[in-house]
Symmetry: C2
Subunit: 338 residues, 2 copies
């Protein structure tokens, strides 16, 4: 018998995961943090966040936390990183004691510098039995707009407990998704967060018209700096060279539909960050996460030249053109990976 599931969030990833659960015949509820859009979604099965997508009628859309979480066994976190703490504070008294949590959020919380799964465990710690052993991270090359069209994609389900990873693998086992099990929770979560800063830079390369060779070089150097950060945080190197690492980085840097890449492209063309964010309905995770990444790298003594350049462009007024030129012009040297 399949478990009762609840998706927390009504953004792009929440919607496409609900679609997979419904197709799999899993009982799924979707809880939206804001009344108005959730009611609109419940009534129309449509969302401005994902044009063209229609939510399966079997997915129950709710705004009451108690009703959404009552008796649920697997809770899927799809709330943008910087809003997670507030949302999970609202939810925590309603959590069933035996629920496991699957997080698909990709970012690092500002100021605390915590990964999404850490934000959850910290927030619910005194209200629930949710432990690290009952947390799974689901990540991979999954631009939501493609999942909405049910194009084939691959994810990793990373958990300390392989049985939980196996349950999650089985839960999303529909014909257009392929799930690998993994055990490096830290690595998978850091890879998912850090790739968004590189994707912003990749978009700038596009906006400047610098070409695929330059963008691919940036991808390779970006992967190296992500791996340096991750291993300094306790992750395994090989995670970054797998599906949740280079796989996710590639689709994020190359898919025209990626939000971070698209934001970077507009910056590269000369638009201001404020104007871009004001015109975007969805959260661009890479923007706040770049702040956290720069702080993390500094505190751990890790060299992240691309991430730091993106930070300087987003928050310190450096022009994308000057930044890319600086990155290309760094002193000729021997290549170093990891």
């Amino acid at each position: 018998m399949s478990p009762q599931t609840t998706i927390i969030g009504d953004g792009q990833m929440a919607l496409v995961l609900a679609d997979a659960l419904a197709e799999r015949g899993v009982s799924a509820r979707l809880w939206g943090p804001l009344e108005a859009p959730a009611r609109h979604l419940a009534a129309t099965r449509r969302s401005e966040r994902l044009p063209g997508f229609e939510l399966d009628r079997r997915v129950e859309v709710l705004t009451d936390p108690a009703a959404a979480l009552s008796g649920t066994e697997i809770i899927i976190n799809a709330i943008p990183t910087q809003f997670m703490r507030a949302v999970w504070t609202r939810l925590r008294t309603h959590l069933p004691g035996n629920a496991c949590i699957v997080s698909v959020t990709k970012g690092i919380e500002n100021d605390t510098l915590l990964r999404p799964s850490q934000v959850i465990t910290e927030t619910v710690a005194d209200a629930s039995r949710v432990s690290e052993g009952c947390l799974c991270v689901l990540s991979g090359p999954t631009i939501a707009a493609e999942l909405a069209r049910r194009l084939p994609a691959t994810l990793v389900a990373a958990a300390v407990d392989d049985d939980l990873a196996r349950r999650v693998q089985n839960l999303f086992n529909v014909k257009w998704l392929r799930i690998y099990r993994h055990d490096d929770v830290i690595g998978v979560e850091v890879a998912g967060a850090a790739k968004n800063a590189i994707a912003l830079a990749a978009g700038m390369v596009d906006g400047l018209g610098a070409g695929h060779n330059a963008k691919s070089a940036l991808l390779a150097r970006g992967l190296a700096e992500i791996a340096r950060l991750g291993t300094a945080m306790g992750a395994r190197t090989d995670t970054f060279f797998g599906m949740a690492g280079v796989g996710d980085l590639a689709t994020t840097c190359f898919s025209p539909e990626g939000r971070n890449r698209t934001c970077g492209e507009r910056l590269g063309r000369g638009e201001t960050l404020d104007a871009i964010l004001a015109s975007t309905r969805s959260v661009v995770e890479g923007v706040p996460t770049t702040r956290s990444l720069k702080e993390l790298a500094a505190s751990l003594g890790v060299d992240m030249p691309i991430t730091n350049a993106v930070h300087a462009i987003l928050f310190e007024g450096l022009s994308p053109r000057d930044a890319i030129r600086d990155l290309m012009g760094r002193e000729l040297k021997a290549e170093q990976v990891g």
Copy 2:
């Protein structure tokens, strides 16, 4: 004082490297293996291989091996893999004793299963003092059509002798090229060869309209199988996760101008290999190299499911659609890298 250089070949890479040498103020000759196209290039400075490109007048185009190689200090090999043995057999008696060779060819010779630099050393062994210590491999994310427009790109110069790598780094130091030094000649050469089979598969994903998520998953799994092959051949793992590995793989899989990706896309759309090759002026290195890769993998006991699927499509009549479905549908399992 800059050295006398000779480029062997008149294909896309030969032309764009000649452009860089001319811009750098290095004396460069270009030797073409066939009279008619070389004479056309010498007269018009244009080539059908690279529409829109004009060869700098300072580059001397020659067809006589003795004149091309007389007194030259650095010889750049840009001949397609399967033609190298015949060409170098013609050249070997004309080689100056103290010349170093830089190879930019990406492939594995059929039947012998040798890398390009090995083909050179084997072919010239009894006629010249060219040794492994005087061989450099130059590789990276460098779709030629972008280099022809002088868009920024990055390469690695790999040699056992770091002084030679430094000379090559300096030789191509123009404002649109950035060269890293490297010492893993085997790894850089295997990465450059094996990525072409993955790029054929990536093109098929495009031709089938399967999307960027699927292509990025393929890239990640392809990188893992390239790394497995390379390490079995004596290369270092980290080479595959650097510029000449994942960097080159990314541009080859994503640039619309890549020849291997384009060939794969046409296969994915249902064209036959014979029809595609008949309509292509340039050599599609991945096609013969896939034969060699399958043999190499079998002889070394390395699992290369994507490369083997590409082989089955190219030479055994498997349809791209069935192959991609087989790859996506392999038994759910834990991810393994390297």
